[in-house]
């Protein structure tokens, strides 16, 4: 369970407040207008943006000042999720050991993860030789071996076409259900919200609202969300 305890994020003139908890095994969509602070919220969760007030707790433990690598979560960014000079296998292996000293069992895990995302035949390829969808799947294979309790997606599939994006989201959904991880994803698309989110965090006006059940919220949006959805 991840808890923002009266947290505040300040970047120049921009401020964002958050005060809520996220539950294990749930899937959250973060929506809101451009520039409202969706990515900032994920950055604060993953440790790239410091909190200016309040605390961040993981199962009651204070992780406000923990470095990104030491947090119980993994994150996919909009781009640069793979090292272009390393093979797909190496990129996935980094998720197990950052120094890439993998033993036999580790290598088997990498192979299994690649098979799970249908990339077994591209294990030795460099990311530059893969299609956009294959690159996304390679990154997801790494998320799989990292096996962190939380997966954060900052629109990693934004550059893919609609069909491919749906395919990736289905894969993500299947993966987090297998591992029991919580999913937090930034999205612009209401259909994505309906497709996989259990709950919605609406970010607007300097505040990240506590999560609300997705279906009910989308069927009957409050005025400011209605204005955003159009």
């Amino acid at each position: 369970m991840l808890t923002f305890e009266e947290a505040g994020i300040t970047q120049g003139d921009f401020t964002l407040g958050a005060d809520f908890s996220l539950q294990q095994g749930r899937k959250y969509a973060v929506i809101g207008p451009s520039g409202a602070g969706k990515s900032t919220l994920l950055g604060a969760m993953s440790g790239f943006i410091p909190l200016s007030a309040g605390r961040l707790l993981w199962k009651g433990r204070d992780i406000t000042d923990a470095p990104p690598g030491a947090r119980p979560m993994t994150m996919l960014f909009q781009d640069h999720n793979l090292f272009p000079h390393l093979s797909v296998t190496q990129n996935v292996g980094l998720g197990i050991r950052p120094d890439l000293r993998l033993d036999v069992a580790d290598r088997a895990r990498v192979r299994d993860a690649l098979a799970r995302v249908d990339l077994a035949s591209h294990a030795a390829a460099r990311p530059g030789n893969l299609s956009g969808g294959q690159q996304s799947r390679a990154a997801l294979a790494r998320v799989l071996v990292q096996a962190r309790p939380m997966v954060l997606l900052d629109e990693p599939f934004a550059a893919l076409g609609p069909a491919l994006r749906r395919e990736m989201l289905d894969l993500v959904q299947a993966l987090v259900e297998e591992t029991g991880a919580a999913l937090v994803m930034v999205t612009h698309a209401p259909e994505d919200v309906r497709r996989i989110a259990d709950e919605v965090i609406f970010v607007e006006g300097g505040q990240a609202a506590p999560p609300r059940p997705a279906a009910a919220l989308m069927d009957n949006p409050p005025p400011e969300l209605k204005a955003y959805l159009g």
């Binding site: 990104p68 960014f77 640069h80 000079h85 950052p98």
Partner: protein, 518 residues
């Protein structure tokens, strides 16, 4: 927008910077302990200071003034071999000074091509020794540098500006006033300052072409006080003068000196609509032709003469070549061990830092450091035993500012692009270097290593100060052959040295880019 992801620990980098500082300061301290200020500067010392400043002023003005028409011609003309010529302009940077000097002697020397030609038509001879020679050699080395700097300036002019000029139908003069003059006002002071500082600390040119009371630079005076009079007090005092002069000038120059892009990017001519007239075409052609001839003739001369001299080379040349290769390789290792952590530290900081280190490299004279370390080692051991080690260290430190200029910007990019990913994966320390930074920085590391290797291979500085008679580097061996008037053998050695310098640069640079991934 995000917090700076400090993936690289600054400790090693700060440690490396402090080590460099300590090495220089230790030498300075040793020099200070021996300097006898009461002694004062003698007449010959004042002459040396005067000559140093005078030749630097002349060399820098000539280099930059001559570079203006050449750079302008290169900026607005397209011709076969233009890219090759622009590349060639970078060559003097890695050219061993002594090789170039021999080339200049072959062309402009007492029985050189020019004098033979002049004699043939009954004209008086020109002398390549003394003031003229020193300035000539400095122009040979710095005209290409100045040309590249000015060419950068020309290419930084937005092409819209030239489009506007074409539309307004400005004539050559109006166009010069409106577009080129403002650029030159910005770029020329920096080029002047840079060339001036380089000429101020030049040693090998003065050693070979200067000499005597009327053509001795401070750097050469240090060498003479040390080597011939073994007057450590005077050498120390002169070292301080040199440090104050070069350091002070470097401090002043720093305000003007532009970022030197040693890499490519200059082979792209702008599309231009002006300067289509016949006179301008001929002028540009002449400028390019003369500059190319001035650069290529001495190099061609050395190659030609060297090829004939190869059979006359004594076996000591091969031995010296082996030692030089060892020194160059060791310098590369030391330089990278210092430069990489420092680059990581500087790239992790917000801005700045490179300049200070560059300043250190510009102002700390190799001979001062050599003298200092001689004084430090002398009471405890025979300094000649450490001559090669000190040479390696000094060479690595001299290449450091250039290496940092090459390494820091891409390092910054790597941290920007892959810092977050590395941080989420928990990559840090050696795995971060091994898996991310070194592979992604390979091309720049190769280039920096090539620069350092070539500079070190051709260096004739500290080693001339206190060499073990049996273990000398190739440039020193070549200098000794020239001193013994065995010019053909020296030319052979020059060819070997030229091949080694260019070769080590080429191998490192190519090796860095070999099968590199984008």
């Amino acid at each position: 927008m995000a917090r700076r992801v400090v993936a690289i620990s600054p400790k090693t980098g700060i440690g490396a910077a402090l080590l460099v500082l300590a090495l220089i300061l230790a030498a300075l301290g040793a020099v200070l302990s021996r300097a006898e200020p009461g002694l004062g500067l003698g007449r010959s010392d004042w002459l040396a200071i005067r000559f140093t400043v005078l030749q630097a002023v002349c060399s820098s003005f000539l280099s930059v003034l001559l570079a203006v028409p050449v750079a302008r011609a290169l900026a607005r003309r397209q011709f076969v071999g233009r890219a090759a010529l622009v590349t060639l302009l970078g060559a003097p940077f890695i050219l061993p000074v002594i090789v170039a000097v021999l080339g200049l002697l072959t062309v402009f020397g007492r029985s050189g091509w020019v004098n033979v030609a002049l004699g043939g038509v009954g004209l008086p001879q020109v002398s390549v020794y003394g003031f003229h020679g020193v300035v000539l050699a400095h122009v040979f080395f710095n005209l290409p540098l100045a040309t590249r700097l000015l060419l950068q300036g020309w290419q930084a002019i937005p092409s819209e500006r030239f489009r506007l000029v074409a539309q307004l139908r400005l004539g050559p003069r109006a166009m010069f006033r409106a577009v080129e003059w403002p650029m030159l006002v910005q770029v020329v002071p920096g080029a002047l300052a840079l060339v001036f500082v380089i000429c101020l600390t030049s040693f090998a040119v003065a050693l070979t072409l200067g000499g005597g009371p009327r053509a001795t630079t401070i750097e050469l005076a240090i060498y003479q006080a040390f080597r011939f009079d073994f007057d450590l007090g005077r050498a120390a005092l002169l070292s301080l003068v040199q440090l104050a002069l070069a350091g002070g000038m470097a401090l002043v120059a720093l305000r003007f000196v532009p970022a030197v892009s040693i890499g490519g990017g200059l082979d792209r001519p702008l599309q231009r609509w002006d300067a289509r007239g016949g006179v301008q075409r001929i002028g540009d052609g002449l400028a390019i032709l003369l500059a190319a001839a001035f650069l290529m003739l001495p190099l061609g001369a050395v190659t030609l003469r060297g090829a004939m001299g190869l059979p006359q080379m004594p076996a000591t040349v091969y031995q010296a070549a082996g030692i030089s290769i060892g020194v160059a390789l060791a310098s590369i290792v030391v330089m990278l061990a210092l430069a990489l952590p420092m680059a990581g530290w500087i790239a992790g900081r917000a801005r700045g830092g490179v300049e200070a280190v560059g300043l250190l490299g510009l102002s700390a004279s190799p001979l001062m450091i050599g003298t200092g370390w001689f004084i430090l080692i002398n009471p405890h051991a025979d300094p000649t035993g450490f001559a090669l080690a000190v040479t390696v260290l000094v060479n690595a430190m001299m290449a450091l500012p250039f290496a940092l200029r090459v390494l820091v910007p891409p390092m910054r990019d790597i941290l920007q692009v892959y810092g977050r990913l590395s941080a989420t994966l928990g990559l840090s320390g050696w795995p971060l270097w091994r898996l991310v930074i070194l592979p992604r920085l390979r091309a720049q590391i190769g280039f920096a290593a090539g620069l350092c290797g070539a500079l070190s291979m051709g260096d004739l500085g500290v080693i001339a100060l206190f060499a073990d008679p049996d273990r000398v580097t190739l440039p020193l061996q070549m200098y000794r052959l020239m001193g013994a008037y065995r010019m053909e053998a020296a030319a052979g050695a020059a060819l070997v040295l030229l091949a080694l310098s260019l070769g080590i640069f080429w191998i490192c640079d190519k090796g860095g880019r070999w099968r590199a991934d984008v």
